[in-house]
């Protein structure tokens, strides 16, 4: 791309893995994420989903926002911002976090990597610079640097992911427990590997200096060839994360800072993430509002549903009876789960009605005609997909 390109300002940026990804994106199925050209899928979305559940597959997380937060006050600053107790994160450990407005409405979720006592990495789906800079206010020794474009990150997920990394020569990778961070020498530099992911399955995320991205990709793919490695895009990610009952922005929650209408955003309690809110730690953004909400109970509760029949309940309303007279909630994400063989969904349901009957009114099309059906929903307490290998240390080879 040269500066003489009159459309330079509109063209999507390319991630550090683009040179390899474009070769494998046989269907030219591109979408965008944070200004980057990003694969919707590469060959076949369903096949890629099955690689995540059956072999292993990579997801380019370069466009995910990464911030380095450094300084003596870094921990205190993060602790003031997020709802979880950052002090409890061990060295070389990762923690899932959310952060809220003073009204306790959720701004975003992300992960905090504790890389040293005074150095952290925060990752999140949407750019967060302004909020971070505001959060720094009042702390003396803390700097926030956007390192999104400096670090290349690749998520490797699936049952053969550990075997692939072992084959790649990452000795001791099998000792990593979930949320552990390990370091390996790589071409004179360091490859950071965390046992994290967004699929609910066994998986790792690989972090490397941008210049070494292609070398790392090539070594990983050479090692993974016998283990069914395959890139996957947004479509397969969305399937896998829903089976794991992980939330997505603009699906389960509307980012508070982008919400126009009153309470069309959510609180962590509404999203069933109350376990992330620690009232025992010092003050944090949204504390008093969240404390009030905890005592009162959330208006809505994000609920896992198993729905009869096999028509995905995308966009459905939830009713308290089969007659569909009283509307009590709405489906946020829905799909047929090929692994669990169930018609699964996440839904926001008015907390007062959770214990009663739940019915979804499902619309679907068949050769241009619209059909509808009312289907009984059953609440599930556990994620739809949670294989033992995702927690096992050392993990199995497949």
């Amino acid at each position: 791309m040269t500066t003489t390109d009159p459309y330079a300002g509109e063209r999507l940026k390319r991630t550090a893995f683009y040179a390899r990804a474009k070769e494998l994106n046989i269907r030219d199925a591109w979408a965008a994420w944070n200004g980057y050209k990003f694969a919707e899928y590469y060959y076949d979305a369903e096949y890629e989903y099955f690689c995540v559940r059956n072999t292993c597959a990579t997801y380019d997380i370069c466009p995910m926002q990464k911030y380095e937060i450094k300084g003596r006050d870094a921990e205190a600053m993060l602790n003031r911002m997020v709802t979880r107790d950052v002090k409890k994160i061990g060295l070389n450990r990762v923690a899932y976090c959310v952060w809220c407005t003073d009204e306790g409405r959720m701004i975003d979720d992300g992960t905090i990597f504790k890389l040293a006592d005074d150095r952290f990495m925060l990752t999140c789906g949407s750019p967060c610079t302004a909020w971070l800079e505001m959060s720094v206010f009042g702390f003396d020794d803390v700097t926030v640097t956007d390192v999104t474009d400096d670090i290349a990150a690749l998520s490797l997920q699936g049952p053969t992911s550990c075997a692939t990394l072992k084959k790649m020569g990452l000795q001791g990778i099998d000792t990593a427990k979930p949320f552990d961070i390990l370091y390996f020498p790589f071409q004179g530099d360091t490859l950071m590997v965390s046992r994290t992911g967004f699929t609910g399955d066994l998986g790792y995320e690989l972090w490397i200096k941008k210049d070494l991205a292609i070398e790392m990709w090539d070594e990983l793919y050479a090692a993974g060839d016998d283990y069914g490695i395959q890139p996957f895009g947004e479509a397969a990610t969305n399937m896998a994360r829903l089976e794991a009952a992980f939330i997505m922005p603009a699906m389960e929650f509307n980012e508070a800072l982008r919400t126009v209408n009153f309470e069309h955003d959510q609180t962590p309690f509404e999203l069933s993430l109350g376990w992330l809110v620690d009232f025992k730690k010092p003050h944090f953004s949204g504390r008093s509002a969240l404390l009030k909400e905890k005592q009162r109970g959330p208006k809505y509760t994000l609920t896992k549903l198993d729905i009869e029949g096999n028509r995905p309940a995308a966009g459905s309303y939830i009713y308290s009876s089969k007659l569909c007279t009283k509307e009590i909630g709405y489906v946020t994400s829905a799909m047929w789960s090929p692994s669990v063989k169930a018609n699964i969904a996440l839904a926001m349901i008015k907390t007062d009605y959770l214990e009663g009957n739940l019915w979804a009114e499902i619309y679907y099309e068949k050769e241009l005609r619209q059909y509808s059906r009312v289907a009984r929903c059953t609440r599930k307490t556990k994620p739809f997909w949670a294989p033992a290998r995702a927690r096992a240390t050392p993990p199995p080879d497949h």
Partner: protein, 539 residues
């Protein structure tokens, strides 16, 4: 010795499904299995260390999702993984690749024949219409057309309604379709021989018919009416091999308190006062129960483990004449690497998938001629798949195994009984054929399991090694399966039932026969039904 409510003979996937639903209803059930392992023809065995063969059945599409979901087989370790396209090898250099992607599939057909590429849409549409109708009958007990019981009349009316919905023209087409040969049927659509041959091949699989034999078009349908997650006609692999299906169902049996006994072959079904009362095992042990359910094929059930004198007149002869001719063999090959095939692009998705050594309609018909003369085919039709290309659990990393379904291979040879030498010669004919398309294939072979109808019958118990427990011809389908008048899982001896592929809707790893039989049994025993209704994408 404890008394059981039900004894199920044979721990194949239908027997286990039957047991699971009976146990779920609270019955005290025991499944007795002659082999030391369970699964029957849905089995995974490690005959060479590190390689896990699906020794008999090898791909899955018919498994009813409603059962998979209802028994929570995912919890018991079952996951079905779809595999991407396959390659049909013509007699010469011609290759027909069937891609999963619609656009790619169309372009590939167009390369062979622009006419056929267009005709494929009409063909798929017609086939989908036929299969939709058949699919609706799968998890329903066929009505007895001679009965005046309200239930049978209601069911006949239901069927009439479904047929009527097709419209007049399609009704005629349907009847025609049922009686035609696969090759003739395809003449209506296609002009290219390799395309015709590729489309016709499901019409002969597992059956002692040729592509030009009347009735083979229905079998074609039988192979495309399954689905994987709503994608009708798609085929998948069970992760860990086909045994994973049986093991998962066995997990459900155990969960519901059922018992499974291996190394417990049945010598005889005990009949007293025209009622089945139990079984005598080969070791002489006697087990008694309120009902006995046979998952063995109809011929084996009535001619091998029942006393002719215990049966009403005519049943023995019907069983003896039950059409269950062996027509296929299976060759499982462990390979030290991925074989390369000539004339095929190095497309990592399609080149590794399935290989169908189709030849042409002529080659397939000549292969059938050999069978008629009591010989295995000189130039066989082979349907292959390399499960290890998709499933990381069935071979060591970087190594593979290839499942080869071979047709034709007779149960009885014209030159005397099967011997180990003849079996090896049969295996050699398969290697030779594959080698023709994959030079150096032989050098990759680490281990081989060659199974002729003789081995399949001896080990699995399928008469003549017929994979469907009886041919899927119209005289043996629906309310005629296994015999006219016995299409509702109840057998001529009181308290005795059948639950295997000899019953409606026939062969395939579907679990349907076992589930349907359980529903009938529970009705007779006045228990609450535990069998779910079918679930359709095409409702």
């Amino acid at each position: 010795m404890s008394n059981y409510d039900a004894i199920i003979i044979g721990a194949g996937h239908n027997g286990l499904t039957n047991a699971a639903y009976l146990a779920k209803a609270g019955l005290n059930v025991v499944v007795v299995e002659k082999n030391e392992y369970i699964g029957g023809a849905a089995v995974t065995r490690e005959l060479q260390e590190g390689w896990k063969y699906s020794n008999c059945s090898y791909v899955c599409s018919m498994m009813r999702q409603a059962i998979h979901r209802d028994l929570d087989l995912a919890k018991h370790g079952l996951i079905l993984v779809p595999y991407l396209g396959n390659i049909n090898f013509g007699d010469g250099d011609e290759r027909l690749l069937s891609y999963h992607n619609e656009e790619a599939a169309h372009l590939e057909l167009k390369r062979h024949s622009p006419h056929d590429a267009d005709a494929m849409h009409r063909f798929q549409t017609d086939l989908t219409r036929y299969s939709q109708l058949i699919r609706k009958t799968l998890m329903r007990t066929p009505p007895d057309p001679t009965s005046f019981r309200p239930r049978d009349i209601m069911e006949l009316l239901y069927l009439a309604k479904q047929f009527w919905k097709l419209g007049e023209k399609e009704l005629y087409e349907y009847v025609r379709f049922f009686t035609m040969s696969a090759a003739e049927y395809l003449e209506d659509y296609f002009e290219n021989d390799l395309i015709k041959a590729a489309m016709a091949s499901p019409g002969i699989i597992g059956t002692a018919l040729g592509v030009y034999s009347p009735g083979s078009s229905y079998i074609l349908l039988h192979h495309v009416m399954g689905d994987v997650d709503g994608s009708i006609g798609a085929w998948g692999l069970a992760r860990g091999g086909m045994g994973a299906i049986s093991n998962a169902i066995a997990g459900a049996v155990n969960e519901f308190g059922g018992e499974i006994r291996t190394n417990s072959g049945v010598q005889k079904i005990l009949v007293e006062n025209r009622k089945a009362v139990g079984v005598v095992l080969e070791n002489g042990d006697e087990i008694r129960a309120r009902i006995v359910v046979s998952n063995l094929d109809a011929k084996r059930t009535f001619t091998r483990i029942m006393d002719k004198n215990d049966l009403p007149d005519g049943i023995y002869d019907k069983a003896k004449n039950f059409k269950i001719r062996g027509s296929s063999g299976k060759v499982n090959i462990a390979l030290s690497g991925m074989p390369k095939f000539t004339g095929v692009p190095e497309n990592r998705y399609v080149a590794r998938g399935g290989q169908v050594f189709t030849g042409s309609l002529e080659t397939m018909e000549r292969a059938y001629d050999c069978w008629k003369h009591g010989r295995w085919s000189d130039d066989p039709f082979i349907e292959s798949v390399i499960p290890s290309a998709w499933d990381p659990t069935v071979a060591p990393p970087g190594q593979h195994w290839m499942s080869n379904f071979v047709q034709y291979c007779p149960a009885e040879l014209s030159d005397g009984p099967w011997t180990p030498e003849k079996r090896d010669q049969f295996g050699e004919s398969v290697i030779k054929k594959i080698e023709g398309y994959s030079p150096g294939f032989r050098d990759l072979i680490v281990h081989m399991e060659v199974r002729t109808p003789y081995e399949i019958e001896k080990e699995i118990g399928l008469t003549e090694g017929n994979i469907f427990q009886g041919e899927l011809t119209i005289d043996q389908l629906f309310f005629n399966r296994p015999f006219p008048g016995y299409g509702q899982y109840r057998m001529p001896v009181k308290n005795m039932y059948m639950c295997g592929s000899s019953t409606h809707p026939g062969g395939g790893v579907s679990s349907v026969c076992g589930a349907n039989a359980a529903r009938e049994i529970l009705m007779d025993l006045r228990r609450t039904n535990t069998v779910p209704e079918d679930d359709f994408y095409d409702e």
